[in-house]
C-alpha cells in the first residue's frame, strides 16, 4: 500500500501506477483523498481540459481515439477520463468506452481511465474532477473527459472543462432535439460526426438555426466542425478549433473562468464539508432522528427544522 506522500511523489513524476492508485483513492477514500488533492493542487492548472459530450451513438469514443492519435503526432501527452453511468438498481457499471481506444493503451504518454458515475446525480462523478486534477498534476498536456450522453446532466461538465465540445451525428433518432437546451448554451465547439452521411448537412443547419435563436452577446461564436471519426477526417481541423478556443480563453476569459470555477468548487466543498461534518454529528448525537420524527408527524416542516438545527450548531 502506497502512502499519500508516495502517491503524490509518483503522480508528480507522471508514474502510471501512482496515477492509477491516486484516482482510486479519490474515488473511494475521502480523508486521504483530500490530503492527496491538497498536495497536488499547486501543480494543477497547466493542462487544457476538454469536455466531450453528446448522445449515445454519436461516436464519441471513436472520435477521441482519433483526437488522441493526432495530438500524439503533435507531441502532446494525454489523459482521458471516460465516464459511464452506474446502474441505479444494482450499483454496478459496465465501462466499455475504452474498447474503441485500446490501440492507445500501450502508448506510454497516454493514460486512459474509466469511471462510473456512482450515482452522482450530476452525471459526472465528483471523483472525475479530482481525477482530472491528478492527470493535470501528472503533467498531461491535454485531458479529455468523455461523459454519458444523457442530456441535462452534461451541464455539470462546465465545472471541469475549459473547452466543451458537444457532439452529434445524423440519424440518431430525434435529431437536434437530442441536444438538450442546456448543452446548446455550454458548447464551445459543435462537432457533427458521420459527416459523410446524407443528412449531415441538415444536422449542421439545425444547429446553426438553434444558435441563431440565442441572442446573447457572444465573445466566442461556437464553430461547427464536420468529422468522420471512423476515418479521422476533420480531426486536424477540430484540434485547430480547440487550440483557437484555448488561445481565446487565455486572452479573454481565463481569469474570469478560473474565478468562476474556483468559486463553484469552493461552494461545493463547503457544502460537502457541512454535509459531512454537521449531518454526521447530528446523526451521531441522535438529534437527526428526533427531528425526522417531528417532520413525519407534521409537527414541523423541513426548512424550519433545518434552520433550528443549524442555529443550534452555530451557537
Amino acid at each position: 500500500m502506497l502512502s499519500v506522500e508516495e502517491l503524490v511523489k509518483g503522480v508528480l513524476a507522471g508514474e502510471k501506477r501512482s496515477i492509477a492508485k491516486a484516482i482510486t483513492m479519490v474515488e473511494n477514500n475521502r480523508e486521504e483523498a483530500q490530503r492527496l488533492i491538497a498536495a497536488i493542487y499547486p501543480y494543477t492548472g497547466k493542462a487544457h481540459v476538454i469536455g466531450l459530450t453528446g448522445p449515445g451513438g454519436a461516436g464519441k469514443s471513436t472520435l477521441i481515439e482519433k483526437m488522441v492519435k493526432e495530438y500524439r503526432r503533435r507531441g502532446k501527452t494525454i489523459g482521458v477520463v471516460a465516464v459511464d453511468p452506474t446502474s441505479p438498481f444494482t450499483g454496478g457499471a459496465f465501462l466499455g468506452d475504452r474498447i474503441r481506444m485500446q490501440d492507445l493503451s500501450t502508448d506510454e504518454d497516454v493514460f486512459i481511465r474509466s469511471m462510473a458515475t456512482r450515482n452522482n446525480p450530476g452525471g459526472i462523478a465528483k471523483a472525475t474532477k479530482d481525477a482530472v486534477k491528478i492527470l493535470d498534476a501528472a503533467g498531461k498536456d491535454i485531458v479529455i473527459v468523455e461523459t454519458v450522453g444523457a442530456g441535462q446532466s452534461e451541464v455539470e461538465i462546465v465545472k471541469v472543462a475549459q473547452t466543451i465540445i458537444v457532439m452529434h451525428a445524423p440519424g440518431l433518432g430525434d435529431e437536434i432535439q437530442a441536444i438538450k437546451a442546456g448543452l446548446m448554451e455550454i458548447a464551445d465547439i459543435f462537432v457533427v460526426n458521420k459527416a459523410d452521411r446524407e443528412n449531415a448537412d441538415k444536422a449542421i443547419m439545425d444547429i446553426q438555426a438553434m444558435l441563431q435563436l440565442d441572442e446573447r452577446e457572444k465573445a466566442w461564436n461556437p464553430p461547427i466542425v464536420k468529422t468522420v471519426a471512423l476515418t479521422g477526417e476533420g480531426v486536424p481541423q477540430l484540434l485547430e478549433k480547440i487550440e483557437e478556443h484555448r488561445q481565446f480563453l487565455q486572452k479573454e476569459l481565463w481569469r474570469k473562468k478560473s474565478w468562476e470555477k474556483a468559486e463553484a468548487e469552493l461552494i461545493e466543498a463547503i457544502r460537502d464539508k457541512v454535509t459531512s461534518s454537521i449531518i454526521e454529528k447530528l446523526k451521531r448525537e441522535r438529534r437527526f432522528e428526533k427531528v425526522l420524527q417531528q417532520i413525519v408527524d407534521r409537527e414541523i416542516d423541513p426548512a424550519t427544522a433545518a434552520e433550528k438545527l443549524l442555529n443550534q450548531e452555530l451557537e
Binding site: G57, T62, G96, I99, R100, Q102, G171, L230, T231
Partner: protein
C-alpha cells in the same frame, strides 16, 4: 385444408375434451411446467389440432417439392434421389496435417470437404505475425500463401470434390488460392465447385471476425459474388450464415430473421452493381444451426425455404425458380455441447442432425462429442460422420420427402416462425436496412439479451442441461483423450514463410501489391488482381495489409 364446418365441429369437441377428459387428467397428473416455451419464446400448446392449421392452403403454403414455395423441399425427390452432402468441418495444424484429415474423412465416406482455418488466417495475418503467436494451427489450418494451399489439396482432385471454406474477411484471397490450385491441376474454372462463407455482415454482430468497417466489408463480399456470377458458375460465392448468430445467443426466430435480412442486403448490393437478380441469385447459399428443440428447428428450416422463395419472388421479382431456392448447409449446434459427460453429446448431435434432415437440408456437418473440450480426434469425428450415415441408411427418414408435412404442430410452428421472422424483417426495414441496424446496435442488443436470458434460465433451472445443472457427476474426471496441436507447427510455418519470401520473385510481388492498392482505391472488383497476387506468391498477410491500409480497421460496438 379443412372445411369450415368440420373445423367448428372439431373446435366444439376440443372444448368438450378440455373441460372433461383433460381437466380430470390434470387433476391427477398436473403438467410439469406452468408453461412450455421453445427457444424462440413461442408458447407450445399441449395439443395441436386441425384448428391450428385451418387457414393452411396446401398449394399456396406447401406445394410440391421442387416447386414454389418449396416448403416441402427444393428438389422433387430430395433424398430418394440424392442424400444430403455429408460435409465435415475440418482443419488444424499445418496444411499437411489437414490434408491427411481430409483424406481420412473422404475415405470414411464424407461426400464434401469443409475447411477450418486458424485464427491468424481468418483475421488475415500470416503465421509469423506478432498477433499470431500461440495461435498458429491451433483451431484450424494455417494458410499463409498459395504454397500452403497447394499442400492442403495435394492429391485431391478439385474436379471431383466440392470444398467449402469458412473464411470471411479474406474470402477473396482464399478463393483466389483455390482457383490457382485448380489452374495448376488443370481443372477448368467452370468445373470448380464449392463455397466460400464470405458473409461479412454477420461478423459485425455474431462471429466478430470483422477486419474492415461495414461498407468495405460488404464490398469485398459482393466482389466475390459478382466475380463468381461471371466466371465460376459452379461456385457458391457466399454462405449467408445464421449459425454464428445462433451460437452468439440468438433464438431460432432471430437466427432466421437476421440471416434472411443479411440475404436481402447482399441481393440489394449485388443488384446495385448492375447484375440481374437471376444472374447471381441461384448460387446464393445459406448456413444454419440445428439446436436442441427438435420441432422448432424443423419448422425453422421449412419456414426459411418458404420465406426466401417469397422474398425472391415478391421483393426481388426473380423469374428463375433456382433464384428462389434456399440451399442450406446445417451444422449441429456447438454451444449445446457440454464439457461434462461428453459422450452425451453424441445423443444431442443425433437429435439435431435428425432435425436438419427432416428439415430438408442440402448439406450437413455433425459435431464431434469432444468439441466442448478441444478439436475432434479421428475417433470422435468418425462417430459424428457415422451419425449421419446411420440416419441416412438405417432410420428410414430419407425414404420419403418432407415426412412431417401435415403435422398440425409442425405446420402451425412453421407458420408462426414465418410470421415472427417477417415482423423482425419489417422492423429492420423500418430502421433503414442492415448497416443502420448494426450501427444502432440492434442485432447486438437482441442477441445479448437472448444470451443472457438463456444463461439465467439455466441457472434458475428453468432450462435443464443434462449433466450440467441436473444429473451432474460430482468431481467428474475427463475420461477421453484430447487432440492437442503440436506447438512446433508455429515454428514450421514461420520457417516455411521465410523460405518462401526468399525464393519468390519479390519484385513481382511488390508490383502486384501496388496494383492491388490502386485497384482498391479505385473501387474496382478486386478478384482478378488478388488472383494475380496469390499466383506471384504474395502472402495472405501482405495482401490483407494492402486492404487494411485502404479500408482501415474496425472496432466493434459492444452491447452486453
Amino acid at each position: 385444408m379443412f372445411d369450415k364446418q368440420k373445423i367448428e365441429e372439431i373446435a366444439k369437441e376440443r372444448e368438450r375434451w378440455e373441460k372433461s377428459t383433460l381437466l380430470n387428467w390434470i387433476k391427477q397428473c398436473p403438467e410439469r411446467k406452468k408453461e412450455f416455451l421453445n427457444h424462440s419464446g413461442f408458447t407450445i400448446k399441449g395439443l395441436y389440432t386441425p384448428e391450428d392449421v385451418k387457414n393452411l392452403d396446401y398449394m399456396r403454403d406447401l406445394g410440391f417439392p421442387g416447386e414454389y414455395p418449396f416448403t416441402r423441399g427444393l428438389h422433387a425427390t430430395m433424398y430418394r434421389g440424392r442424400l444430403w452432402t455429408m460435409r465435415m468441418f475440418a482443419g488444424y495444424g499445418t496444411a499437411e496435417d489437414t490434408n491427411k484429415r481430409f483424406k481420412y474423412l473422404l475415405s470414411e465416406g464424407e461426400t464434401g470437404l469443409s475447411t477450418a482455418f486458424d485464427y491468424p488466417t481468418i483475421m488475415g495475418y500470416d503465421s509469423d505475425h506478432p498477433m499470431a503467436r500461440g495461435e498458429v494451427g491451433v483451431c484450424g489450418v494455417a494458410i499463409s500463401s498459395l504454397h500452403d494451399m497447394e499442400i492442403l489439396f495435394d492429391g485431391i482432385p478439385l474436379d471431383k470434390v466440392t470444398t467449402s471454406m469458412t473464411i470471411n474477411g479474406p474470402a477473396s484471397v482464399l478463393l483466389a488460392m483455390y482457383i490457382a490450385v485448380g489452374d495448376k491441376q488443370g481443372v477448368p474454372r467452370e468445373k470448380l465447385g464449392g463455397t466460400t462463407q464470405n458473409d461479412n455482415l454477420k461478423e459485425f454482430f455474431a462471429q466478430k471476425l470483422c477486419i474492415f468497417p461495414p461498407k468495405p466489408s460488404l464490398k469485398l463480399s459482393v466482389d466475390v459474388i459478382e466475380y463468381c456470377a461471371k466466371h465460376l458458375p459452379k461456385w457458391n460465392p457466399i454462405s449467408i450464415s445464421g449459425y454464428h448468430i445462433r451460437e452468439a445467443g440468438a433464438t431460432a426466430v432471430q437466427e432466421l430473421a437476421f440471416t434472411l435480412y443479411d440475404g436481402i442486403a447482399y441481393v440489394e448490393e449485388t443488384l446495385k452493381r448492375g447484375l440481374k437478380v437471376d444472374e447471381f441469385a441461384p448460387r446464393l447459399s445459406f448456413f444454419f444451426a440445428s439446436h436442441n428443440d427438435f420441432f422448432e428447428e424443423i419448422a425453422k428450416f421449412r419456414a426459411a425455404r418458404r420465406l426466401w422463395a417469397r422474398i425472391m419472388k415478391e421483393r426481388f421479382h426473380a423469374k428463375n425458380p433456382r433464384s428462389m431456392w434456399m440451399r442450406m448447409h446445417v451444422q449441429t449446434s456447438g454451444c449445446t455441447l457440454t464439457a461434462q459427460q461428453p459422450l452425451n453429446n453424441i445423443v444431442r448431435t443425433t437429435i439435431q442432425a435428425l432435425a436438419a434432415v427432416l428439415g430438408g437440408t442440402q448439406s450437413l456437418h455433425t459435431n464431434s462429442f469432444d468439441e466442448a473440450l478441444c478439436l475432434p480426434t479421428e475417433e470422435s469425428v468418425r462417430v459424428a460422420l457415422r451419425t449421419q450415415q446411420i440416419i441416412a441408411y438405417e432410420s428410414g427418414v430419407a425414404n420419403t420427402v418432407d415426412p412431417l408435412a401435415g403435422s398440425y404442430y409442425v405446420e402451425a410452428l412453421t407458420n408462426e416462425m414465418e410470421e415472427k421472422a417477417m415482423e423482425y424483417i419489417q422492423k429492420i426495414d423500418d430502421m433503414g436496412g442492415v448497416i443502420p441496424a448494426i450501427e444502432k446496435g440492434f442485432f447486438q442488443k437482441e442477441i445479448a439479451e437472448s444470451a443472457y436470458r438463456y444463461q439465467k434460465e439455466i441457472e434458475e433451472k428453468k432450462r435443464i442441461l443434462v449433466g450440467v445443472n441436473e444429473y451432474a457427476i460430482e468431481g467428474e474426471e475427463c475420461p477421453i483423450k484430447l487432440l492437442r496441436v503440436d506447438p512446433s507447427v508455429e515454428k514450421k510455418q514461420v520457417e516455411r514463410l521465410q523460405k518462401l519470401k526468399r525464393e519468390r520473385d519479390n519484385r513481382k510481388v511488390k508490383e502486384v501489391l501496388e496494383k492491388l492498392h490502386y485497384a482498391a482505391e479505385k473501387d474496382e472488383n478486386l478478384m482478378p488482381t488478388i488472383i494475380e497476387a496469390v499466383k506471384a506468391y504474395a502472402t495472405l498477410g501482405e495482401i490483407m495489409d494492402v486492404l487494411r491500409k485502404v479500408y482501415g480497421e474496425y472496432k466493434e460496438l459492444i452491447i452486453i
